[in-house]
Assembly symmetry: C2
Homo-oligomer: 413 residues x 2
């Protein structure tokens, strides 16, 4: 019998308890030992719960219980979660978590602590919710040199962008809709400003490229500036706008960013709608492989947590070495040095003159037209370093009759 303690009976924690109970038949078929929840740590009152007798508010009852082999940390954040994870690992207990903030902030230290105590620290649920991605990267694609990762890693923003495109709702309307449906929190900034996706990209990149990526070094831009007009231009380019998290191997180093991007409708990531997430992995042998599913939510996320528990019970070995040393981190190219094509909208006085000035300065641009846009031109630049795009835009703004940059969005082609 393997005993599990769950820390934090919120959305994911309660999902873990539910799955272990509801799916016990098929889980027992697959696990080499029976799995039982022995304790649940939460300070709130769950006396009406069917699991009422499992609750405790005393962490010591868990950390000092030698019967408890596996601790599930579903508290979230980096304060109590950090402290309790360290205590659990030092007490010789395996820890499984869905907490991306903690993994992104303290992953190297916690992995080292786990190794020193001969236990495991697993976090499949921290990226992509229920989508298997960390295990596939570590195992299934282990024959590949990974050259790139491109993901839609945040369900809230993808829902908002889908609503805007489908219903013609503007950003604020779509955000309200997301809140009403429980897809966005009261303070949605972690999602819409891209910070959630950024932490997940840091975790994925660390695994894919074998070196620690500090999330604070990833250029991050949210979706609050995306308008319905931008969506219409994207449509005219046979494209969609998505919040993309990208990390790519380039000759000069790794280029890593989270930002809205224009992506062709034929691209598999373009069809990822609503709260779904997907991660495209580029390997030098496998080519492009994509993993798609529910990136958040109680049961999908708990599904990934329970898969980690079953792997521990079955002694499925990680066998990954040499990753996540904080002192040997990935060389990230600054966003100014990284290459892209850029979609640009300019407020102008005379369209013809502005177009001529743009072509003179940027060279071979693709101009995009919408029927009802007055005093505005839009175009896609050739691929070049972002600092060069910025210099040229500055020069362009000095031209006669070009008044302002209304928006600029990276193009992922």
């Amino acid at each position: 019998m393997v005993h599990v303690a769950v820390l934090g009976y919120g959305v994911v924690g309660s999902g873990v308890v539910d799955i272990l109970n509801e799916n016990s038949v098929c889980i027992n078929d697959r696990a080499s030992d029976e799995i039982k929840v022995k304790k649940i740590l939460d300070i709130r009152d769950f006396s009406g719960s069917p699991y009422a007798e499992l609750f405790t508010n005393k962490p010591d009852e868990i950390f000092n219980d030698p019967d408890i082999n596996i601790v599930v940390e579903t508290i979230g954040g980096t304060s109590f979660a950090y402290e309790y994870t360290k205590r659990a690992l030092m007490s010789g207990k395996h820890v499984v978590t869905s907490n991306k903030e903690l993994v992104a902030a303290h992953g190297p230290e916690l992995l080292k602590l786990a190794r020193e105590n001969n236990v495991r620290y697993l976090f499949e649920a921290s990226v992509g919710g229920g989508i298997p991605i960390i295990r596939p990267l570590n195992h299934c694609l282990s024959a590949n040199r990974i050259d790139g990762i491109t993901g839609i890693l945040n369900g809230t923003t993808n829902y908002i962008l889908t609503k805007m495109k489908r219903d013609g709702a503007d950003f604020n309307e779509a955000l309200e809709k997301a809140k009403m449906n429980g897809y966005a929190e009261a303070d949605p900034s972690a999602d819409i400003d891209g910070h959630d996706a950024c932490r997940k990209l840091a975790i994925l990149s660390s695994i894919a490229f074998g070196k620690f990526v500090d999330y604070r070094n990833i250029y991050t831009e949210g979706i609050a500036n995306i308008t319905i007009t931008d969506m219409k231009y994207a449509d005219a380019l046979d494209s969609a706008i998505k919040l993309l998290a990208v990390c790519k191997r380039t000759p000069g180093g790794f280029f890593c960013r989270v930002s809205p991007a224009i992506i062709k409708k034929g691209h598999p990531l373009a069809m990822v709608e609503d709260v779904f997430n997907a991660i495209m992995v580029e390997g030098n042998a496998v080519g492009d492989a994509m993993f798609y599913g529910r990136g958040a939510g109680k049961m999908p996320t708990a599904s990934a947590v329970v898969a980690d528990i079953i792997d521990i019970v079955n002694h499925v070995n990680g066998g990954v070495k040499g990753i996540w040393d904080r002192n040997d981190s990935l060389r990230i190219v600054s966003v100014e040095e990284s290459f892209t094509r850029m979609f640009v909208r300019l407020e102008v006085q005379d369209k013809c003159m502005a177009q001529k000035a743009t072509a003179d300065i940027f060279g071979d641009c693709e101009f995009v037209k919408l029927s009802d846009m007055e005093n505005e031109i839009a175009f896609v630049t050739p691929e070049m370093a972002e600092k060069d795009i910025n210099l040229k835009l500055k020069e362009l703004l000095g031209s006669v009759g070009i008044k302002s940059v209304k928006n600029s969005i990276r193009v992922h082609w």
Copy 2:
């Protein structure tokens, strides 16, 4: 040092040798021991190959070599491959394969033999080429009761259907194009008649549902009857036509089939084009998860073989128990008893009368119109058992002015 022998230096076998050499740096980072190809079995002359000194045509040199720990079987078929796999397992060597025919035909016996000899028989590459799917089913989704699998499992047929849709080529033109591009074999029947997809579905279903599925019990229909006109109707239904391999849990048992199907364009599987494959898995906790990538080809398939090798080297444990007993096979519902909606095209004398007769017999049908179709009506039936659809079609053919069924295609909604 782990020594590997490769049986059969064809497309996949040579890819395995290439990856082990070309990606040795990142593979050594991930594997706990160095991996080296010691022997390659092939009767052909490879004296010009950079690996010339590794070749042998004497199987005994491999089976009797105690240094060789892992045998890669990339011979294909079920004669030599079967014999050599048994010998390797009985000699205490792990076997890794991409051979779907052998796994589908003799999987239970070979898995049992592996267990008895305390070695492993791994076949990630047998389904979906480079797409990780067997390991995700066994591990990542282990917390779920799997309720359904729907896949595009054959690249050749998907390429042909994509060509037909995109270029308006008819089936034979598209098949010729596939042959020219090396995507179809000289005798393409295993692909176009659905047999290849059928074997892969048998393997996936066995793993997903924990009981042996004999591929001979899976209803299988190919794509040779699909016409450009069918594609136009599908388009009018905002849908595409794909060769779908489906296995679903239903109250009466499992329903399992390979057939062309009409699928809405918004469905993630509808965007899978060209030679790409994808597998959608429905779990009771995770919901829908999809795995997408290159389903065939030298390097993608070899990528999956080498991932299995690395797992063996790292002692990554399977930990799956109780699957694949030939005497305890999955209860499959006959295709006549299984439920579907059906798209039907009828040759008729009078469209109005025919439409009335159809509505009288089938009830609530969705009629589909193409502008230039004379003497023809087309419709989608309500969902019902296939035997009832067939009975009603027979009745309909007895009506005045209804001459023949031009085609019928299952609808996957």
